[in-house]
Symmetry: C2
Subunit: 477 residues, 2 copies
Amino acid sequence: MPRRRHWGWGFEGEPVGEGAAELAAHLGFGSAELEQPAPLRVDPDRALHAHGASYLDVVRALRGDFPHLPDVVVRPDDEPGVLAALERADAENLTVTPYGGGTSVVGGVDPVSRHDGAMSLDLGRLDRVLEVDPVSRAARIQAGATGPRIEAQLAEHGMTLRFYPQSFERSTLGGWIATRAAGHFATGPTHIDDLVESVRAVTPRGEVWESRRLPASGAGPSPDRLLLGSEGTLAVITEAWVRVRPREVPRWSARVELDELSAGLELVREIVQSGMRPSNCRLVEAREAQLTLSADRTTLHLGFEGSSEPVEQARALCARYGDVLEGAGGAWRDAFLRAPYLRDTLVSMGVLTETFETAATWDRLPGLIEAVQAAVGWVGMVYCRITHAYPDGAAPYFTVVAPARRGDEEAQWAEIKRLASEAVLAGGGTITHHHAVGRDHRRWYDLQRPAPFAAALRAAKAAVDPDGRLNPGVLLD
Amino acid sequence: MPRRRHWGWGFEGEPVGEGAAELAAHLGFGSAELEQPAPLRVDPDRALHAHGASYLDVVRALRGDFPHLPDVVVRPDDEPGVLAALERADAENLTVTPYGGGTSVVGGVDPVSRHDGAMSLDLGRLDRVLEVDPVSRAARIQAGATGPRIEAQLAEHGMTLRFYPQSFERSTLGGWIATRAAGHFATGPTHIDDLVESVRAVTPRGEVWESRRLPASGAGPSPDRLLLGSEGTLAVITEAWVRVRPREVPRWSARVELDELSAGLELVREIVQSGMRPSNCRLVEAREAQLTLSADRTTLHLGFEGSSEPVEQARALCARYGDVLEGAGGAWRDAFLRAPYLRDTLVSMGVLTETFETAATWDRLPGLIEAVQAAVGWVGMVYCRITHAYPDGAAPYFTVVAPARRGDEEAQWAEIKRLASEAVLAGGGTITHHHAVGRDHRRWYDLQRPAPFAAALRAAKAAVDPDGRLNPGVLLD
């Protein structure tokens, strides 16, 4: 099995830096002379578990800087192994950070110690599909299974989970649930929340938190919804029943080219408010399309799956807004999955590249996008795309690309993060639609969260994790 | 304004007992000589707030028996009034039971006192639509607004919430949120959970619990989802932003007649698993259809709204299973809304009539239905219908009709409830899909709920309601 690189995305031996000269020319900044990774002076496995996959994580790891090296990395084989690890943490008084694919972009998996040491609890060996129910279309899957592992095993049953976050190659089911991840389905069940039938987790006290498999329920507040988004602070998720579906062939896809982002926003709103539920409905601003897709104009990537979607109606609607080029489905997806690799090149070139995302109701969305671009536009380029659309609003996703202040990246990044987050909250957005809170978003999450809910959540954590062993500083102190 | 009757459903002056002779003949039990309500010896308003609308509530109120008369009924005009009521409860050391339409069928609004007295906090005067956002299709509505009040006010904006629980005429938005109510939409957003954009509530300490208006978010566990289903135990809901839609004309409806319930289950499963989302998809067993719909066979009521639904495909699919009679949409709805009135007649006739409901995955559903009917079938007739369908399962709804043991109804009901609930849990169901937990389902809810979640919920309640003032005994002690 190939070994993951201790910095950035991907595996040892995969190339970094392809196209650097062209990128530098296109951007007008960044050096084609790539910064080389510092020699690794610590245990590679501990280095790998010292951080997630944010821009700063990549910069720091490239330089051999690991502020939160775990004292121990534990890789249980199964749930009893997880319980044993938690017992060990109790016996040795260790902080425990659950670790899935290590793809957090918000400082969610740094093994920060608040005890006598830090344990990174890597769930990667819990990677099996344990059971498939073809009648109800559901599967019981272990928390540490990555996207490719899940799909390969479900394919043997003719099924698919059909959940593709950008981190698909490395991130895990447990991580998706813990962070309320969103996949590339643009409408309908966008978040993993809607695909979860039941969750099984274990608390630091060794208690099992397992809900019933149910298609729906009205029995009290949902126990699953308290674990969804808990970011490893309440319990360690070990497995879940999730809703799967037969593998479907894409039915229709098109690229719609538009003159203005605002026209695209109107088109997307009309699509979802008319009751259509395209599987893909991704609106990419002209400047980002130029960078990643070799397209010139603002582009809506639209795709339908299944046999019951109103393709004719969609085609006619799109034609009222722009030029419809049918059957151009794959390009955006390639660019989407290539982005984390591209970032390693950009970082090596001395380019700051940061993404952040939110969601807001339609009435506030144009103003929010404008305000965010104004707040951080001065540092470099700020691209916007719409990744998910709902009848009452949508999720804009921003990419900042700027010349890095080498050696001072941390302060530069913090300034951008602050300005962007303030603009997002002031504009009526959420601090995150699917990147989670972690440590990087805490300040604004605390402002966004209703105070009595914060008190309730703190109390809930104290009840199940009285020693505050699980992922301290994330969501709560 | 007409005054509500202190027992049963409906208003003073509305007839009770129509068709009693025919019902008795059809059932083979029950008397056409109606039991007359006992003279009311307590304050009518306190009597009205002493109970909900369960079978036992109707029986007891008919006999003038009010085990939980509130000491005081408070009707605030607005949120400051709610806060003042909570302050008064604190000053006078009163237990507080939030009261919406008083339609709980699970003992959820009985003002049980655990302090020096009991306050019923009636939100009925908070009944306005405060704001409509036509761009995002959302509306801010006060918690005490009933179904008809909401629809009348939204109609002025050409909008509808389109949420029709059976209690529609009397139940309120706040009650729906507190109990995770389900409307008559059979697929898609069945529960109010999915229509809620944000919730505003106040705690006994006077703190405001308000989430942001968001189409979706991934920022920590959802604060709304902790209030959804909290049944008045955490905070008093005062208003919410909910997703509305333009008023749509039903597009196609049909009645499909089938020979067997099992064929109907297969048909419903195929419909939802194929991606269709009919607005109505209600499967009624032959014996219930005979009682309420004057139909002879097992009947699926199917309806589509909006312009993007695959009617042709649905028609062809249904024809493979049974006889399709198009355009027969209204009958089931009339029977549905008439049922609470019918129950008053049945109770007066000395007929026990109880309903309970659950949800289970498709693989377990036929076995669960069979087990429930076997467990309680000996007491009388047990009808089953399917009210809500999901890709991974469905919600069966049972109606028990039996000769009441007059004077001993409580014990008889408790026995039926116990047998049914045990069968539901053993069969893999939830103790409730949309009737809530209240006090009647507590025993089985406690068995169903994951133990660490129960601990977390208890702690959360203690944090926001340290004196245990809100609705004690419901969900938690």
